[in-house]
């Protein structure tokens, strides 16, 4: 009899839908059906058992092909790369569990590495703004039950977070929002007329790159001052109308995405959005929330903040001092400036997401990919180590976009012999300790790098 597993958490986007129903075949080896998930979440489950999986680590050979090696050999290779590098970079963690991130941080600390996660090319700028200006936020449950004005700015959940609007923001009937969609006002601000904009009551087509100016106009109007006839391509009357709606809301939420985080000014766009949220709290209740991308990209921010005090771009090369300054210690800047000499791509695809110049620069040094799937990064690596898929084959804690932790479960076993991220990093850590002990025994004679290890 096929087994039906209910209340499964979805390992796709930051909405972390936890109402999936997965049907698994009798022998527990095949996923037959996934209910309630969006098209993308659905595909992640079916992909796990329907596609050809990599079952052993693969090492690049001199002729350019991959050769399968054992996990022990791969772990030794990875540990040696970390040990011999002067400034290795461990990047990724968008799609793994918090247990794996904590284990990776242990490795990073031991190896004197830079630890970075996908926030670096995603919502990292939000974190900088939060450092500078605070975060008047709430949970998605509060939005569902209370919000009567929703503002999407530079975000397109219709495509990127397919169930966000139906579960939390626009359509659901909550405790104080019994009329669902009918009782809510939806405002969308985006340079593109997106599918999200189609469901909006008010759509403002802001001139691309002028979000900061428009926020400035909103704030100026909210404080009762005059503004020019047109700001960022939006007429004054329209701005006055939107500010009036915002001031008269019972509970409002600004959801923002890459349109703010990754246009000119970056953290300043979020910063002024936070300032606007604070201003609006003089009139009524307003909150703001980042539309985090992957299902557990909030995880490394939480885990590493707890471990080291910083959410991303951590420079642990001085071992006893954690330093963080995006622009210097962020992955793309490090790569473009030629500041690192080994690269670990973990649970993401830097090959697809990084600018080609950064990839070229990184490719001059050892590149190791740790990911369940074949992706662009795995195909250009020196070593590809497969691991189990979190949320499908590996359980664990993940953080939703509103920083709420959710316990994920597994529905099937990983392919035989394939280990989890956590186990892999624990074993790399053990191997690093062994290498260190071996070197200490050899009176600290090192073959590659000169100088004295940092902890002396």
């Amino acid at each position: 009899m096929p087994k039906r597993i209910e209340n499964v958490g979805c390992p796709y986007c930051g909405v972390c839908c936890d109402d999936l129903v997965v049907t698994v075949s009798d022998d527990g080896k095949k996923i037959l059906e996934v209910e309630n998930a969006c098209a993308i979440g659905n595909q992640i489950y079916h992909h796990a058992t329907e596609s050809e999986r990599v079952r052993l680590p693969r090492l690049r050979q001199p002729d350019g092909t991959y050769k399968e090696i054992s996990y022990d050999e791969a772990i030794d290779y990875a540990a040696r790369v970390l040990y011999n590098a002067k400034k290795p970079l461990i990047y990724g963690f968008g799609s793994t569990n918090c247990e794996g991130m904590a284990a990776a941080a242990k490795v990073g600390e031991k190896a004197g590495a830079i630890l970075d996660n996908c926030a670096s090319i995603c919502h990292g700028s939000s974190l900088l703004a939060i450092f500078d200006n605070g975060y008047p936020s709430c949970t998605l449950g509060e939005v569902k039950n209370r919000a009567d004005v929703i503002l999407y700015w530079g975000a397109n959940p219709a495509h990127a977070h397919p169930r966000h609007m139906s579960r939390y923001s626009i359509f659901p009937r909550g405790f104080f929002t019994g009329k669902g969609h009918k009782s809510r006002k939806i405002i969308v601000i985006d340079p593109r007329y997106t599918d999200t904009a189609r469901v909006a009551d008010i759509y403002l087509q802001v001139k691309q790159g002028y979000d900061y100016d428009l926020f400035n106009a909103f704030r100026t109007v909210a404080r009762g001052h005059e503004i020019p006839e047109e700001v960022a391509g939006i007429k004054r009357e329209k701005i006055l109308e939107v500010v009036e709606i915002m001031k008269n809301a019972r509970f409002g939420t600004i959801f923002y995405g890459m349109g703010l985080c990754h246009t000119d000014g970056r953290n300043h766009n979020i910063d002024i959005a936070i300032s606007l949220t604070r201003d609006l709290n003089d009139f009524t209740k307003w909150t703001i929330m980042a539309m985090r991308g992957h299902y557990n990209i909030t995880g490394p921010n939480q885990v590493w903040s707890w471990q080291y005090g910083f959410p991303y771009c951590l420079d642990l090369s001085k071992r006893d001092i954690a330093h963080m300054n995006p622009g210097e210690t962020s992955s793309i800047d490090l790569a473009m400036r030629g500041e690192i000499d080994a690269f670990f791509n973990v649970a993401t695809d830097a090959g697809a997401h990084f600018p080609i110049e950064a990839v070229k620069e990184l490719r001059k040094h050892p590149w190791i990919t740790i990911d369940p799937n074949i992706c662009m990064a795995s195909e250009i690596s020196d070593l590809h180590i497969p691991v189990g898929i979190v949320g499908v084959e590996v359980p664990g804690i993940v953080y939703r976009m509103d920083n709420v932790p959710v316990q994920y479960r597994k529905v099937i076993d990983p392919p035989e012999g394939v280990i989890s991220d956590e186990e892999l990093f624990e074993r790399i850590y053990q191997r690093l300790c062994e290498l260190e002990a071996e070197d200490a025994a050899k009176e600290r004679v090192k073959t590659t790098a000169e100088g004295i290890p940092a902890e002396d």
């Binding site: 900061y212 100016d213 400035n216 005059e226 300043h268 090369s317 100088g451 940092a454």
Partner: protein
């Protein structure tokens, strides 16, 4: 004043972090002792002498010590960090954090510098003959008390995020400035001899900005209030006076709100 000359003879493969290259650290040390001071290349701590040849001894105090850096220092970070007195001359380009958290003394860079120079500066003088990168005289991440005092003078252009959270001191940019000047500022003066691209004075509470050229995209939160004649960095000229950022909170002094000021030359 005694002079210590460091010549980069063995450049690093990655980047070198030289937070110990300050008159404070060199004072009272001989050339041999200076060569043993720690510098960092990634996780490797090495003596300064591995990368530089050192000539001359340090003075008795920081104020009596001058450091001259020769050779290719474009991959050298953090020179003069937290220095309190004395003088540093970098004969070519330098990398990030030059004069960061500087409290006194003088740094003269004869080439260009990268980002985060003069970060959270409290006093002293930072002179750059070339261009400066981003976050010039800015505040460190998450710090709402930025530059407190001192003078930064850049002959060329500057990148974005100049003088974020500025509280005091003066920044003079000979060329153009990219977006975000004096964002969140609560004091201090920024003088831009060229043009500014935009977002000048965003979320600004107090402080002054002088732009000799044009502001390409002025913010809607600034209001023109009149014209003034002033002498700015030795130049007497007429300026249009704007106040703002009207979207931001403003303190009240003697019953009147205090605004940030932008002056653009007529």
């Amino acid at each position: 004043m005694k002079t210590v000359t460091l010549t980069m003879t063995n450049p690093p493969e990655l980047y070198l972090e030289g937070q110990n290259i300050t008159p404070d650290a060199f004072a009272g040390k001989t050339a041999a002792e200076i060569a043993a001071i720690d510098v960092w290349e990634g996780k490797l701590k090495s003596p300064l002498g591995k990368y530089f040849t050192v000539e001359g001894n340090g003075g008795a105090t920081a104020a009596e010590t001058r450091i001259i850096l020769r050779g290719d220092c474009s991959r050298l970070k953090r020179v003069g960090q937290q220095m309190t007195a004395g003088e540093i001359v970098i004969e070519g380009d330098a990398d990030m954090y030059i004069g960061g958290w500087m409290k006194g003394g003088k740094i003269h860079v004869k080439g260009n510098v990268d980002s985060f120079c003069g970060l959270a500066m409290e006093g002293g003088e930072l002179i750059i003959d070339g261009k400066a990168g981003h976050h010039l005289g800015s505040s460190p991440r998450g710090e709402w008390r930025g530059m407190q005092g001192g003078l930064i003078r850049v002959a060329g252009s500057a990148g974005n995020d100049t003088a974020t959270f500025m509280n005091g001191g003066t920044i003079i940019i000979g060329g153009d400035a990219d977006i975000h000047v004096s964002t969140h500022a609560e004091g201090g003066t920024v003088i831009i001899k060229g043009n500014a691209k935009g977002r000048v004075g965003g979320q600004m509470v107090k402080g002054d900005i002088y732009v000799f050229g044009q502001i390409e995209n002025p913010l809607p939160g600034f209001k023109q209030v009149g014209e003034v004649e002033q002498e700015v960095d030795g130049v007497k000229a007429r300026f249009i006076h704007y106040i703002g950022d009207l979207g931001e909170r403003h303190p009240v002094s003697k019953g009147k709100p205090v605004y940030g000021n932008i002056y653009t030359r007529i």
